[in-house]
Subunit: 229 residues, 2 copies
DNA sequence: CAAATAAGTGTCATTTGTACATTTATTAAT
DNA sequence: ATTAATAAATGTACAAATGACACTTATTTG
C-alpha cells in the first residue's frame, strides 16, 4: 500500500536524562551539544531516531555514542512536541531517563563531548526545552521513589545505610530521621548485612549492605522497577 | 538556519484511549477506523499531528473530530514507535488517555464512526499495537488510582458511595469491604453528603454525595490529578 | 404487615508511622 | 594510655491507619 498521502513528516529525536549518585548526592549528566544550533551549549544527550531502530534502541545508541555509557536501563518519560521547541524546524523529542551509580560507570564515560555531572541544585541553563524535561524527570523520580525501591539502581554493589539515607535525602531534598529510616530500610528484608565496614566517613565506620537481588527481582522485575509505564 | 540535513522524517500520530464509567463498570470507547489500512476495524481514536498544533491540542482535536467529545482532560501516556507497527509506513504514535463519566458525555457523542463502549473484559481485537496501548493504560489507571483520587473524574456530579466502590472494584477487578471502603472514602473530607437518594438500585436508597471541588483542586490540581507527568 | 433488598454503621486487633536521646566503636591527639 | 571527637547504631511510647468481621435500618412490594 502507498504511503499516507498529504501527511506532514517530522524528524523524531530522543533526549536522554541520566541521573547519577556518587555516594553523597544525586547529579545530572550533561554534555556539550555537538552541532548547531546552540553548538557547545550544555545539553541532554540527544539525537535523531534512525530508520530501523525502536525508540528504546535508539535511546541506547544515542547515549552510547555521546557518552560511552552502555547497558543503562532507561525508561521512556514523555514526548515533547511543541511546534516551536526547536528553532531550526519542528521536531518531536521522546525523552528517556535513567538512574545510575556514578562510580560504576566512571570508566565507560568518554570525553568527546566533555560530559560533566551537575548537582541538582546547580544545573546550568540548557538548550531548548531541556530544562523542562529535567524538571519533569526530577518530579517523576520522586514519585517513583515513593512507590518503589527504584533508588537501588543508583547504588553500588555495597552500600551503607547512611549512604542510602543520604540518597533519599538528596532526591527528596529534606532531612530524614536516622532511626526511622534505618528501621524501614531493614524491614523490607531486601538488604543483606555484610561483614566489612565503610570507614571513610566516620571513625566508627558503617556496615556495608548489599541488595538481595533474588528478592528484589522477584518483587520488582526490571519492567516494573520504574513502575507502570 | 537550514533544516537538519540527512535526517529522516516520519508522520507523527496520536491515539486516544478513553475510559468511561457508566455507574457499574469501567468501559473503553472504540470506533471503526475511517481509512485504510484496516478500514472499518475496531480502533482507538487516532490521527496525525498537524503542523501548528501541540501534542495536547492535537489529541483534543482528533478526539473531537472522531467522537464529538470536547473538554476531556487527557494525559499523555507513552509514545510507540516500533519500525513495523504500521504496515503502510513507519509512524510514531503518541498515546493519550482519559477517564470520563459516560453519561455526562452521552449527548456529545456523534455517530460518524459508530463508537461503542466495551467492558474491559470484552475488548475486541484492535488494529496495529492498539491492544498493547490499552493494556498499558489499564495498568497505569490502576497505579494512578492507588496513589491519587483520579477516579473522581469518572463520576457524575452526584454519586453514591456504593457507586464509588463499584468503580474501584471495576478498576481493580476485586471485591472491596463495604465498611472499610466507606470509612476511607469519607475520611478524606473530599465528599459532601447531599439530601437526596439514589433509589434505582435498592429499596432503601443510597444518599448522593458530591465532590468538594475546592478541596479536590487544592490538593490535586489538574496538572497533578493524573500524577507526575 | 411481612418479606425482600441493599444501605449504613462499630469494634477490636494489627500494622504502620512518627517523634525523640543515648550508647557504642573507632581514630586521632595529647 | 587516656581523652576527645566523630558519626553509627539502637528502642520506646504514642498516634494513626488498616483490615477483618455481622447486625440493624429504611424502604418498597406483594
Amino acid at each position: 500500500m502507498k504511503k499516507y498521502p498529504e501527511v506532514k513528516r517530522y524528524p523524531v529525536a530522543i533526549d536522554c536524562i541520566i541521573f547519577g549518585f556518587d555516594g553523597s548526592e544525586v547529579k545530572l549528566l550533561l554534555i556539550h551539544r555537538g552541532f548547531d544550533p546552540q553548538k557547545g551549549k550544555w545539553s541532554l544527550m540527544g539525537g535523531f531516531v534512525e530508520d530501523t531502530e525502536s525508540l528504546d534502541n535508539s535511546a541506547a545508541r544515542i547515549l552510547k555514542n555521546l557518552t560511552g555509557l552502555e547497558n543503562v536501563y532507561m525508561e521512556q518519560l514523555l514526548t515533547f512536541g511543541n511546534p516551536n521547541r526547536d528553532p531550526v524546524e519542528r521536531t518531536f523529542s521522546v525523552v528517556y531517563f535513567a538512574l545510575i551509580d556514578i562510580h560504576k560507570y566512571e570508566a565507560q564515560l568518554t570525553d568527546n563531548y566533555r560530559p560533566q555531572w551537575f548537582a541538582l541544585k546547580e544545573i546550568p541553563k540548557l538548550i531548548f526545552d531541556h530544562s523542562t524535561m529535567v524538571d519533569l524527570a526530577k518530579e517523576k523520580l520522586r514519585v517513583k521513589a515513593t512507590h518503589s525501591p527504584i533508588l537501588f539502581e543508583l547504588l553500588p554493589e555495597k552500600f551503607t545505610i547512611p549512604q542510602l539515607r543520604c540518597l533519599y535525602e538528596s532526591v527528596f531534598d529534606k532531612a530524614l530521621d536516622k532511626r526511622n529510616f534505618s528501621r524501614k530500610a531493614l524491614s523490607g528484608e531486601l538488604l543483606v548485612k555484610l561483614k566489612d565496614k565503610e570507614k571513610a566517613s566516620s571513625k566508627k565506620g558503617a556496615f556495608y549492605f548489599r541488595l538481595d537481588k533474588k528478592k528484589y527481582n522477584t518483587h520488582f522485575n526490571p519492567a516494573n522497577v520504574f513502575g507502570v509505564s
